[in-house]
Symmetry: C2
Subunit: 312 residues, 2 copies
């Protein structure tokens, strides 16, 4: 049996949150269905932020209802606060992703709260879930943004990142994510910080959310694998960005990340050729957006053997 690795597609959320043009709900659903057909097993499908803040997610409820019929996929959605979580609970979303920035400046810019206030908000979310009797139905992940540095604040103390990881875990998080929101992280830092986080919150799983802003995204995935991380966010065509990180390019590219994992022998379940075909559709839907990634250009090696094929 091959070791498993999990690629979570975050394109329908992180990938398009800054795309001005509204992607019709039916397109979003087609995207998610095609991802599932390509073997992707986790998709972050939308965000429960107010439509006045991010108009792209005005159809969050319709998207969630639409994807609920897709088989064998873990659906999740981003929640910025208790209000967003309530929408998620009401709609029966099986996994909700809360985010707090380790950078005080970034958290203030993002949600107008101190990091301590955001952690208190996370406790309220967990309490509300449990009050509703959803403890066994709805998982809640705690994500830590700007964990590797911040474009506003600069350095983010690693001790604070690990402290926040511990506080989220103690509050009842079902999983912890460390996010390099602005692409500041390097492989040495990734190994150090993920190893420390894993040690701090075990037995909780720790996932990685990398951006490829400065070209080290895939190297950082390799570094995280080295310390036992198996959950990675990525977006098709490397779509995405950050409103508070000028010039920042997107999430790590899903096709290249899947190629890395599969070629190193990790079973992702993903058919990379199917992702390449889907990418062509997405490119046609989003004219004028920047698309990244190399496998889409060059194709798979002649020597490529899918790890997941042997496991299937």
């Amino acid at each position: 049996m091959r070791e498993r690795a999990y690629l979570r597609e975050v394109g329908p959320r992180d990938g398009i949150q800054l795309v001005k043009q509204f992607l019709p709900t039916e397109r979003k659903l087609e995207w998610c269905r095609a991802e599932a057909e390509a073997g992707v097993r986790e998709i972050e499908v939308t965000s429960f932020v107010p439509a006045s803040v991010v108009p792209q997610f005005a159809d969050a409820a319709e998207v969630v209802r639409g994807v609920s019929t897709i088989q064998d996929v873990q659906i999740s959605a981003l929640i910025p606060n208790v209000k967003g979580a309530q929408r998620g609970f009401d709609l029966g979303v099986p996994m909700l992703n809360f985010v707090v920035s380790a950078s005080e400046a970034h958290n203030m810019a993002n949600v107008r709260r101190t990091t301590d206030e955001s952690i208190a908000e996370f406790r309220k979310i967990i309490a509300e879930r449990d009050r509703r009797g959803l403890k066994d139905k709805t998982r809640i992940a705690g994500g830590i943004a700007t964990a590797f540095g911040c474009t506003l604040q600069g350095e983010v103390p690693e001790t604070r990142v690990i402290e926040i990881a511990r506080l989220l875990a103690q509050a009842g998080a079902d999983m912890i994510y460390l996010a390099d929101t602005v692409g500041y992280g390097n492989p040495a830092q990734v190994r150090r910080l993920f190893a420390a986080a894993v040690k701090e919150v075990r037995p909780l799983k720790v996932g990685a959310h990398f951006h490829d802003t400065r070209g080290l995204g895939i190297a950082n995935v390799t570094a995280a694998l080295d310390v036992g991380i198996q959950h990675f966010d990525a977006s098709l065509a490397g779509l995405g960005g950050c409103p508070f990180a000028p010039g920042a390019t997107g999430n790590i590219n899903a096709e290249d990340c899947a190629f890395l994992l599969e070629s190193m022998g990790f079973d992702t379940g993903i058919d990379i050729e199917a992702l390449r075909q889907l990418r062509k559709r997405i490119e046609a839907w989003l004219p004028g957006e920047a698309f990244f990634g190399m496998v889409a250009r060059a194709g798979l090696p002649k020597t490529f053997v899918r790890a997941s094929k042997s496991a299937a």
Copy 2:
């Protein structure tokens, strides 16, 4: 003292060998001078192939003479055979890079020889150098192309790569390079093959020549660092390609590679901002070419500290 890492700029050779438009000699010299000013300590400046085969290198002799006045830089040039080596010896080039493909099919397409014939040619080159009394003046590196797989042949046996490394070392190579000419390598393979090569040819140094064709180039640098490799080829703006690898994109990007090394604490001597400025000039000189790399787009992190600054 920081650990050193060596980035060799190969843009003036590998980067432009497929560029149809002839880059004037004065531009090539300006490029090399600016690289040296940016702190780059090794440059592959040209190739001694016949001008009929690669017109871009018709000015090889003028380039070599022009760069000979640049201080503190190790200049090298590619040689395909004894004839090319003779030109290098005549011009007093301090380092010559011979290449044999580990793939029989690729070597045949590239130089119309079997790999055994190419290794025999390498022995002749070493003998000719020694006959001329240049043993202490001219270093000769043995590079192994398609060491991680081949677009023509597919799999390349690792045992053959290591055997060729041993034969080149026994023949008198001063250094060995393993090249992922077509971007097939992954970090697990990189660690395995470089570790084996280092063991086989020690105390000779082993360098890495990666292409970023499928997005794993910088991850492969990280993997090579893990097994003690400190010499890396890269090209400004990721220029380059391979005539026998259709759709293949170029060498790993020099700016991103320097950013990786410096941010991990390796002293490269390089001023990445100076490289970014130089890149703008090169882009203006080569309209219509594809330029790669992320640091050039996004800039350095606010938190970035040059490793080489502390060592200087």
